[in-house]
Every structure is written in C-alpha cells, then in structure tokens.
C-alpha cells in the first residue's frame, strides 16, 4: 500500500529559512532509516509559496494568482511517498518522525486498483480503465 505524508508549512518555511543543523541531522537520520527499511519511495521539500502560483477556475478564463499565500497551516511544505504493508505500519513510521511543537502531519493512502476490490466487476473495471486511458490522453 502506498501512502502520501503531507508536511505542512510554517512561517519559517514560508520565509525560506532552512531548518536548523540539528533538525536537518535528525531528518537525515530518519530518512536513512526509512530507506534502509525499504519504505521510502519518494520525498521532497517544496519552495515557499512566494515562488509558486495558483490557477483559479471560475468563469470563462482561468485566473492566475501569484504566491505567497497567507494561510500557512494549509500550505504543504513537503511530502513523502511510502510503501507500507498496512495503514498501521505507516502510522507507526510517522510516529517516529522528528517533529514537535504541536505540528500535525497528515497521512493519506494513495488509491490503487485493489482498493475497489470485489465491488469492481470486470465490466466496471473496463469502463474505469477506458476513463483512465482518456484522462491520460487529455
């Protein structure tokens, strides 16, 4: 099962400040442990929203809104993609991450074909695949 772990931004990350050497060291150690346990598939940090943009779809023309964006809590500053055998395993890994100060880290399973299980009949599955093919082409 694949999981995405979303790390929220903070005033510091939004200001483009790098984390302390100590925290970077702890994070490196944590990342190494994830890698050496075969769990980590991807993980990256994102630049502050001042370097990003939003595109708003409303009316006939999409509108571009340049960063920065104000609600720091709703800003994603980084993510991991993990491969774990269960939701519990992913939670157990996340509990070991070097965070503090009341920060909340969100963990979300990534959709996979098996998630539809028995409910997806061959016919539905085929229709679903056609849809997916189309969206891949669009």
């Amino acid at each position: 099962m694949r999981f995405m772990v979303l790390v929220p931004g903070s005033p510091e990350s939004e200001a483009g400040e790098m984390p302390s050497t100590e925290l970077l060291g702890e994070m490196t150690k944590y990342n190494e442990e994830l890698a050496k346990s075969g769990v980590m598939l991807a993980g990256e940090g994102l630049h502050p929203t001042s370097r990003g943009a939003k595109v708003r779809f409303d009316g006939s023309e999409p509108t571009v809104i340049d960063g920065p964006f104000t609600e720091a809590k709703e800003i994603v500053a980084g993510y991991w993609v993990w491969e774990c055998s269960s939701r519990e395993e992913a939670i157990e890994w996340l509990k070991r991450a070097p965070f503090g100060g009341g920060v909340e880290i969100e963990l979300r399973p990534i959709f996979e074909a098996e998630d539809f299980g028995e409910q997806l009949t061959p016919e539905l599955r085929e229709a679903n695949e056609r849809l997916r093919e189309q969206s891949a082409r669009n």
Partner: protein, 419 residues
C-alpha cells in the same frame, strides 16, 4: 484503542522491528534458530502486555530488552534443571552471551546486523528453496502460512524447510560476521538471486491460476530496497533493484480485466506506474555510475529501461536492446537470454533473422520443455505469415505451460492463427 486495533498496531511494529531484532539477537547468541525463538517470545510478551499498557515509546528497544530478559530467565530455569541431571550444555554459553551489556550495539550500526542476517539466510550451504523461505521469514517478516500460500506448497513443507535451514546453518557453524570485502563480493550473487527469485515468482507465477502475485513482488522490492540502502556502493544491488522497479512498473498493465496476461506490445503504457519507472531509471543511472563493466542485473535493468523510455513498441530502441542482450549473453551464456535476444533481433532486424536464432536453440537441453521456446517461435512465424506452423507452435507452448492464465493466452493465440 480496541484490542483488534492494538493487534494490528503490534503487527505493524513487528513488521518494522522483527528483522533488526532477530539480526541483533543472532549477533549476540550466534544462532539464528535461538535468536528467532527469543524474538518470538518477545512478540508473545508484547501481545500479552501492550493491549493493557499501550505501545511503548521505543518498541524496538522494548522488544530487544524483553527478548533478552525472557531468554535469560528461561535459560536459568533450564540450567538449574539440567544441573540436577548433571547436564549443562550450550545453554550456559548462550546465557553468558545474553547476560552481558550489548556493547557492540552501541558502537556499530544495527543495520549492519540486518545486512549480515541477509547474507546468512542466503548462505550457499542452503538449498535455493531454503534460502527463499528463510529470507522471507526472517527478513521479510512473512509467516509460514504466508510463504506457503505464495509458493503454492503446504505449510508443513515450508515449516520443515525453515527448521532444516536453521539446523543446517547451526551445524555448518556459519559465522554471523563476514570476514572480508572479498567474501562479501563473492557471496553477493547468492543474495541477489534469492531476491530476484521471489520477485519472479510474483511477476510470472510458474504455476497456478493467477498470472501474477503482486504481493510477492512487493516483498522482493522491499528486500531489494533494503539491500541497496545497506550496500550503497554496490552497483549490482542497485542494478537488481532498478530491474525490479522497472518490471514492477508494468504489473498493473500486464493483467487484463479478467486476469488474463497482456503482453508488452499490447499494454496500455499510460497505466505503467510512473513513480516506479522514475525510481528504476534513477537506480539504473546509479548502478551504471558505480560499475566498471555492467553486471547481469544492471544489463537487464538497462534492457527494461529501453522499454520504459519508449512510447510504443515501434519506438523502442531495438538495436540497443540487441546490443545489451549481446552483453548479457556473453556474461551468462544462458539459453533463456539467447531466446530473449532472438525476440529483440526479430524486432530490430526482422523475423527471418530472429527465426534463424530461435532455430539454432532448438536442441538446447536447458530449453527442453520450456514453453516460451515454441511461444517465441510461434510469434515470429506469425510475423512471417506462416500461420499454420505458428498455430502448432502456440499449441505446443500451451501444452508445456503450467500457468493457467498464460496457457489460455497461448491457446487463444493458436486459435487466432485460423483453423
């Protein structure tokens, strides 16, 4: 937490900690069977206590301390008993080892223990089946029934394989330490082979009703990722991982809606797993950067990468695939590689050239009874428009094939050649 939620959480902790725990205990007691028993005792203790106490802050350290303490208690009782009978054996030795502070764990990286354990469970004194079973059990954290299901054998067979393997390691006094870099290099191929065997059994199930068993591929990928992270300077560890990631990227696309196999040429490439493709290509670059001459797994990964980079079968760099197969054939001398090379030659230089190669393999003893020899020949004959002969080849291939789904595919290809 409800008790079933706690049990699931304990499963998760076990999945994360068991390999490190068993590896650390093996270093201390020098016997993998004893180490596994101690680890199992600690798991039992966790199942008894954690539903009440909650999961401790450092569950790995808790399990290790508990395994040692329970081991010491049990050994003291047994020694007291045997003293009465005048027997004191190996127990005393193990007791002393367990009853000392574990200084090595403070100076060495515990991950080194895991690496040594992998090399131990893949030791050449064991049969291939035993290596696979023991590695999945001790490093993959799979239970005996899970291994039995994965390989379509009975639980009893797997249990016996594991018991025998542990006894063999103990009787052969296989040391936990690896004495030199040379020994590490020499024994690495056996480790890579075990991981790839597991992967392949998931990727093309040799028997049974299912064409693939993705869970087994996931187990192999996990082991491959662990190995590559523990041996970051070893090109073939990265090569094997890249190969598995690239092949696994096609897992979803190579099974049709009714569970039937979908061949590479017919796969919807939009359904390939692009995260795995990227990881595979990056791993291949790492392997190539670390290599002098490319090893067999890196070469196979390079071939898989040609497919991963191509938008369609037609746009595949077939001459490069042929060149890579040339290198692989020279390295391995394997007739199966020659057969795959014939497929690439067909695509690069036309079916006549491919057929010539396949026909030169007709008497190869290693390919006798191998369903893909007539399978490939049938495919080339179709391209030459020789449908009557192609039909016979597909029918022969279906006869030789033990996988139900692949058999159906071969029969339908025979049927498609007309009556």
């Amino acid at each position: 937490m409800t008790s079933s939620a706690t049990h699931r959480a304990i499963d998760a902790v076990w999945r994360i900690e068991s390999a490190r725990l068993i590896a650390g205990l093996t270093r201390i007691v020098r016997d993998v069977a004893v180490a596994e028993d101690l680890a199992q005792d600690a798991l039992v203790a966790a199942l008894e206590q954690w539903p009440e106490s909650g999961i401790p802050d450092k569950p790995g350290a808790w399990l290790m301390a508990t395994a040692k303490r329970r081991g010491i208690d049990a050994l003291r009782r047994r020694i007291a008993l045997e003293r009465k009978r005048g027997l004191i054996g190996r127990e005393l030795e193990i007791l002393q080892q367990l009853d000392q502070p574990d200084l090595a764990a403070q100076v060495e990286d515990v991950q080194d223990d895991v690496l040594r354990l992998i090399f131990m469970t893949c030791h050449p004194v064991l049969s291939r089946e035993a290596r696979v079973a023991l590695t999945l059990r001790l490093l993959g954290g799979l239970s005996t029934p899970e291994i039995a299901r994965a390989f379509l054998v009975s639980e009893g067979t797997v249990a016996q394989r594991i018991v025998r393997a542990k006894r063999t390691l103990s009787e052969a006094r296989v040391p936990f330490e690896i004495s030199s870099r040379d020994e590490l290099a020499e024994r690495l191929p056996a480790v890579l082979e075990v991981i790839y065997l597991v992967f392949n059994e998931g990727y093309v199930a040799t028997a049974g009703e299912q064409w693939t068993r993705p869970a087994l591929c996931a187990d192999a990928l996990r082991l491959g990722r662990i190995l590559a992270a523990l041996m970051p300077r070893e090109p073939e560890a990265h090569g094997l991982l890249a190969l598995m990631e690239l092949q696994a990227s096609r897992l979803q696309a190579r099974v049709g809606p009714r569970g039937e196999p979908v061949l590479l040429a017919d796969q919807d490439r939009a359904r390939w797993d692009h995260l795995l493709v990227q990881r595979g290509l990056a791993g291949l670059r790492r392997a190539e950067d670390l290599s002098g001459a490319l090893g067999p797994y890196t070469l196979q990964a390079a071939i898989a990468a040609c497919h991963a980079r191509a938008r369609s079968v037609e746009e595949t760099a077939w001459p490069r695939v042929v060149a890579l197969y040339d290198g692989l054939a020279a390295l391995t001398g394997s007739p199966v590689v020659e057969l795959n090379r014939a497929v690439a030659v067909t695509m690069a230089f036309g079916p006549e050239a491919g057929l010539e190669l396949v026909d030169s393999l007709a008497d190869e003893p290693a390919l006798r009874g191998y369903h893909l020899l007539p399978g490939v020949r049938g495919d080339i004959l179709v391209r030459l428009g020789r449908l009557v002969e192609a039909r016979e080849e597909f029918a022969r291939a279906a006869d030789l094939c033990d996988n139900e789904r692949e058999r159906e595919l071969l029969l339908s290809r025979a049927l498609a050649c007309g009556a």
